[in-house]
Symmetry: D2
Subunit: 338 residues, 4 copies
């Protein structure tokens, strides 16, 4: 850790801080410069976090040398984690994971017909929300427990793995019993109690990046889950909030490439929320595959023009089929398969 003192800080102040560093078990360093005094701390600097040196009136800035996350880091665990969802999907392997389905469970018929559409394309995991976090209280809020029951029914009948979003600890048993993977949505990426709760299960967790979350924030959110004992975390890039408004969010594909270099966790992409525009889903899926993502999560609806939510970004069945056709050669080009 590197600590820069404000101009005019006394030798005594520096010594006080250095002795606090030493007490925490780090080796202190004193580096007086021409315009600033710089202090260093060598050792496991994460223990210094509790000193909260940024709060000291003589401190101008504190720069950690190490990343604040550990268990999700490739330094600790150099090989790619492979996480199974259901019997047939290995996320993080050579297999490119396609998870698809409607934004929300609306009815048995809608869910089953959409499941049929994706199964025809050899997709092995269905996504659909039963608990829908909606910006407005007047929007469709999902079918709740009834939606979970429908998901379970379709999953069993079709032998399809299923993923759904968990928004509240109270529902964790219901959801865990039913689904093959739990989704933590963008608005809950920093709902730390919820992260701890799924960290106490052994279910795969798809953790979506918060709209205002840096990559570091995302990795620290994953660290919450992993450090509770659940190593099965799949990160999901789904766009961040920027000034650009023709897309719903700005899909940050560099984040995928960046995280793949720093973390052993699999990373998938949600081009549906990431763009919010049906016509952009297919090109961005291909781009995700080309930059090294381990999979995608795509909204497909048997009839988007009558969807109760997110119709604007849902693919029609024939669009989804066309996407899968054009995706295959791109995957081959980067050494992956469906």
């Amino acid at each position: 850790m590197i600590i820069v003192l404000r101009p005019g800080s006394s030798k005594e102040t520096a010594e006080e801080i250095l002795s606090r560093i030493e007490k925490m078990g780090c080796k202190p360093l004193y580096m007086p410069g021409t315009e600033r005094v710089v202090l260093g701390a060598i050792g496991d600097e994460r223990v210094l976090e509790s000193l909260q040196l940024e709060g000291h009136p003589a401190v101008e800035s504190v720069s950690p040398v190490l990343a604040p996350y550990k268990m999700v880091s490739r330094e600790l665990h150099p090989h790619d984690s492979v996480i199974k969802i259901g019997a047939d999907l290995e996320v993080g392997s050579n297999q490119f994971a396609v998870i698809a389905g409607p934004c929300a469970v609306e009815s048995y018929d809608q869910l089953d017909r959409t499941a049929e559409v994706i199964q025809k394309q050899n997709v092995k995991c269905l996504r659909a929300g039963a608990f829908k976090p909606r910006t407005s209280p007047y929007s469709f809020q999902g079918l709740g427990g009834e939606g979970i029951a429908l998901l379970s029914r379709v999953s069993k009948q079709r032998k399809l793995a299923v993923v759904t979003e968990l928004v509240e600890i109270a529902d964790i048993d219901l959801v865990t019993r039913t689904v093959d993977a739990i989704q933590i949505g963008t608005r809950n990426m920093q709902n730390f109690r919820l992260l701890e709760a799924v960290g106490d299960t052994d279910r795969p967790v798809i953790l979506k990046r918060g709209m205002a979350a840096t990559i570091k924030d995302l990795l620290l959110a994953a660290e919450y889950i992993v450090s509770r004992g659940n190593p099965n975390v799949i990160l999901c890039e789904r766009g961040i909030k920027t000034f650009e408004q023709v897309t719903r969010n700005t899909l940050d594909l560099s984040a995928v490439a960046y995280i793949k270099q720093r973390s052993h966790l699999p990373v998938i992409v949600d081009p549906s929320h990431g763009t919010g525009v049906r016509e952009l889903v297919s090109p961005m899926t291909r781009a995700a595959a080309a930059c090294g993502a381990d999979g995608v999560m795509i909204e497909v609806h048997v009839n988007p023009s009558e969807a109760l939510s997110d119709g604007k970004q849902s693919l029609y069945p024939d669009q989804f089929a066309a996407l899968m056709r054009t995706l295959k050669p791109v995957l081959q080009a980067v050494g992956r398969e469906l």
Copy 2:
């Protein structure tokens, strides 16, 4: 609601959409232009939300005419809401509300001494967190239930109203029993279940703006609470995420002025999180007062250089005293008092 069709859309498509609009009870309008066909819907367009017309393949864009929030809007309720916290604080009135205290409850001694500091400045409401949402799992997470107990003890002894953050529905009874107002933090602004839960109480709620939340998102989050039956919502501007990094967030004071014109709810400002820099707290508090905010929430600590969290942005007791001195004439200038 104004619906613009894509170029080349047929008359039949337009008629299909118009008949769906009519079925929902709105008056449909057909406006063929030279380059685009535009459709209109007159009436309570909020009922049209369920049509999800954005999802229709022939629709280029949908622009609502009305704001999506109702109960929090000044159009429905033109007069300022005044919300009482404890016996002595009327937020939204002529009284400028100052809520102050440490980021977190750390110990009885720390809390009580900080309470003494703010009480000396005639502050009537103490803030302090017992449940701390922290970006890293390795940071201090708050004292939890023990922190609530300490808050309760200091509150009673000093006859000070108290505010604390609620992060999980499971704690709602404990928190509601103890505190005079509940804070919903920035990371939970769109934790809709939590909003509904506090909406089912009658306790004042301080709702902090999410880091990536637009003003509209914030007002819709408030609508969640108010539409459940709890009208006692105080909005809190606390900075948004932008590319600027020398401040922790970018404090958006225009949001205060904007919301005061559109909503009857009181708006306060958190200059501590809004800037993240101790030296900026005092000027931004004065600015908040000058632009029409109904109050501020400020981090003060009896000894910031030893705070377990947010020390960097906490005021020292003498800085807080100086701020209160300089704040008074500004309040007078805008016709308010402490």
Copy 3:
């Protein structure tokens, strides 16, 4: 154009505005609703821009129905524009354009050796800056006219097309005489005089997106050039400013897919500035190819660790060779070639 009036606006006000619309040659529409009066204008609404109706005190909002750009729009010109740079490069065709070279011309030796590196990979266009816009006045500012002379020399000797950035109208003759395409940098995307000046030449222009420019802003900047008579504009996505700081910018690849649908102009991607991180350049180049970009502009340096600028994001010769190898199958997968 759709004009929403403020609540309480009188019939007279509406009529006054409608008569102004009619005088401009558009057909006025009056649509009184239950809570708002909405006005419409049918016809070439771009002529209404001069009315500046947003400034009217009774107007709540003005929403154009049509895009504000015309000549760059696919509606006017449905087929892809193909723009030649030098003898061998056709940007916007089936050929995927790779433009590569150092950030800045540093010396004959550095430029020529880098040119050799890219030519070995069959690259047909060299990029290098002679006039360098640098954030700090204390950074290397480029070799200026001398740099242009070196570019010209290497270009002739190696029969390589060259691109360089123009930052000031005074240099336009010098630059136009020498290079095959002119680059307008991100900081000058809204330097409208400079846009007009290059619009008066017939030289291909690579127009980089401004760091805070929306896609609409970028297309309007291109419209400045095209409307002056120069149709040879190549748009370049190079990242926008967001809160994410581990990358220098956030590369917005959705913008590529979005623009390709709305505009006939070719779009290329600059993954070097877009990420600012050497290790991310190759995956993002592949992603650019996969999402439909017409080419890339990449920083390559014969020895990045001694580059005078942007060394951090420049590829080493062997990294560039490896990238070209892995790019080929991706291009094939999307039906393109080098």
Copy 4:
């Protein structure tokens, strides 16, 4: 300067870098830690910029200890700079500078009548644009040289100082001859040649913050001007681009307080562009005064509903009069006067 090496970097690499640091005249420091090797450079680290150590393949990160700007810094020049515009305005002094006028010069009548409006409020400096940078080529582009002539005429007749924007070096003599201060607009904040050109004059320069410029970028842009020999730079906060869209930009008043602590240059605020909404101009002007700004630049128009540009954000004459009335007590509260 602090240099963190990548894991696994060899001792030889560290020594190579340290010897490059030593050759530049800085004292090198070697700090091997448990997980990373950290290097330090003590001395005038600005000379190390030319080493471009970020480009070295073994370097993980480079953190400067000092700010990259010098001449504009308070460390070099601790006292407030006071800059005169015309005979009567001292920006940076106890006098709060109000600069007001229409967005653009439209006609003699419009300019003179608006000048009368502001002069009645005792304003000493008129602003109006003759060269207008407009996002669309189809918008009103300003009267150019004729506008400058009108400004000159009104300035002389009314003995009012005038400010106008310079967008192109070719106009610098014309503008410098006529106006009392030169404005560099937000789109030209990093038009470094233009900065150098105004740096070669002795005219006061109002430098507006770029829409995507950090505070550091703004101070470095000022450094361009000051380091050419013109110390008369007034910084202007005018809002940055964020995801919030109900305001045209997000006015960053914390930037004012932050800069006042780090730089001796005066800082003014443009609440008109900063918000883009007429109703927000007055509260944000009061906030600017309260947080320590040295003045404001406000758009006032004799009849905003017929303005050729920016009518939406221009004050009506009576609104401006009301603002000046309410501003006075706020200024008094912070120890300033008009």
